[in-house]
Amino acid sequence: MIVEGTYALPGSPEAIWDLLMDPEVLAKAMPGTRRLDRVAPNRYEGTMGVGIGPITAAEFDLVIEVTDIQRPLSYTMQIDSKGRFGFSRGTARVELTPDGAGSSMRYRADLQVGGKIAGLGQRLLDSVSKMLLRQGLEALHKELTARLT
């Protein structure tokens, strides 16, 4: 499953880079994240749980590694989460370009899901991923706005 697009963020790439790498901000951008700690300079671990409708928000272990870092313009996140319902993993490439006072963020995530969520949830995967992306970007925007002012 590939999700891509661009999104306008407040603040220049330089201004927001450290914030994007801040585990608290990162957690906001990933809906359902319950805990996220930086365990090494470019490695984060935590837990998340996303509940949709009747589906209980079961806990997933989450590991994120940031690679291909071209500060402040681009990076890649290796995302790996697994739990009772299966797993989700993949990469998300993020590119920032200055856009006026802010930044234009280009993202391209290539994610795969497995286990129960794949076998039983295919009807909703597209809608759910769109929703989580939208929520995540909005939350990120809000968080950056708050932190930059």
Partner: protein, 291 residues
């Protein structure tokens, strides 16, 4: 495929049910025809269930001052068989046989389906087309929410924790109103790839006074085809106008998801075709009632 354990409550009255919901942080169990499969797959593991099936006051259909009121625990099968529904809310009657299968309809409930808010479900689209309201109760009291405000996203509604849908209220249709429901499913009773509920009201001269076109399975919830609806207001419902509106419904008005059964492009095509067919039937019915 056995469900995980849970605490079980079986209230006899609405008051008791609301108190238990609040106290136990429980999930209400209505017909259970979506929840229990999810539990059998162990995708849902509610800690506690408050079973509403013995709360008699929540079931039943009544008709007063032009408004048809359907209790939340009224079974689909009861709605399907009810003569008042057939007469007063024929769009709903026409839709009922499309909902799943007979065994599901004899257990599933109106309120359960609305609160579940599955984007592929028929009833949310239909009650939105009917401009209905939902009656919502909690221990704190009662409120009414219009269908247009009730569905807030993917499986998401305006219900707060501890709140229950207790009834849906459907206002009387104006004169010169026609209706139609269309859906396309792989097999009868499956989640529709696309569905559409249409209601049109003509003015005395036979032009479209108002219309509602609500699609299902093309978004996070029931989706109103707003530009299509606007394009028909005040217009003669001739084939060209209907075709143009249907084209809008299939393009600008929706952003459909893709799955293994249907691509987004195919869903747009189905939305176009079904909207055109539904509008055509609804317009014909409306002009029949005019004569």
């Amino acid at each position: 495929m056995k469900p995980p354990p849970f605490r079980y409550f079986r209230p006899r009255s609405l008051e008791e049910a609301l108190a238990q919901l609040e106290r136990e942080e429980a999930k209400p169990l209505a017909g259970g025809q979506s929840l229990i499969p999810a539990m059998n797959f162990r995708l849902a593991s509610p800690g506690a269930l408050v079973d509403l099936n013995e709360v008699q006051e929540l079931a039943g259909i009544s008709d007063a001052n032009g408004t048809v009121r359907i209790g939340a625990m009224t079974r689909h099968a009861a709605v399907e068989r009810d003569a008042r529904i057939a007469n007063r809310v024929p769009l709903l009657r026409e839709t009922m046989p499309h909902i799943a299968h007979p065994q599901i309809r004899s257990r599933g409930t109106i309120g359960g389906s609305l609160a579940h808010a599955d984007p592929a479900a028929e009833l949310p689209a239909v009650i939105l087309a009917l401009d209905a309201s939902l009656v919502i109760r909690s221990t704190g009291g009662e409120r009414r929410v219009e269908a247009g405000d009730f569905f807030t996203g993917l499986f998401a509604t305006a219900l707060e924790p501890g709140e229950l849908v207790t009834a849906v209220e459907i206002p009387a249709a104006p004169a010169r109103t026609g209706w139609a429901f269309e859906e396309f499913a792989r097999r009868h009773g499956d989640y529709a790839l696309v569905g559409v509920a249409v209601r049109v009201t003509l003015d005395p001269k036979g032009r479209c006074e108002s219309c509602r076109i609500v699609l299902l399975s093309v978004g996070d919830g029931p989706v109103m085809a707003r530009s299509a609806m606007r394009s028909l207001e005040g217009v003669d419902l001739a084939p060209d106008a209907i075709r143009e509106a249907a084209d809008r419904a299939g393009s600008a008005d929706i952003d459909p998801p893709a799955d293994i059964h249907a691509s987004a492009v195919y869903r747009r095509q189905l939305a176009r075709v079904l909207t055109r067919r539904a509008l055509t039937r609804a317009a014909a019915r409306a002009s029949e009632t005019r004569q």
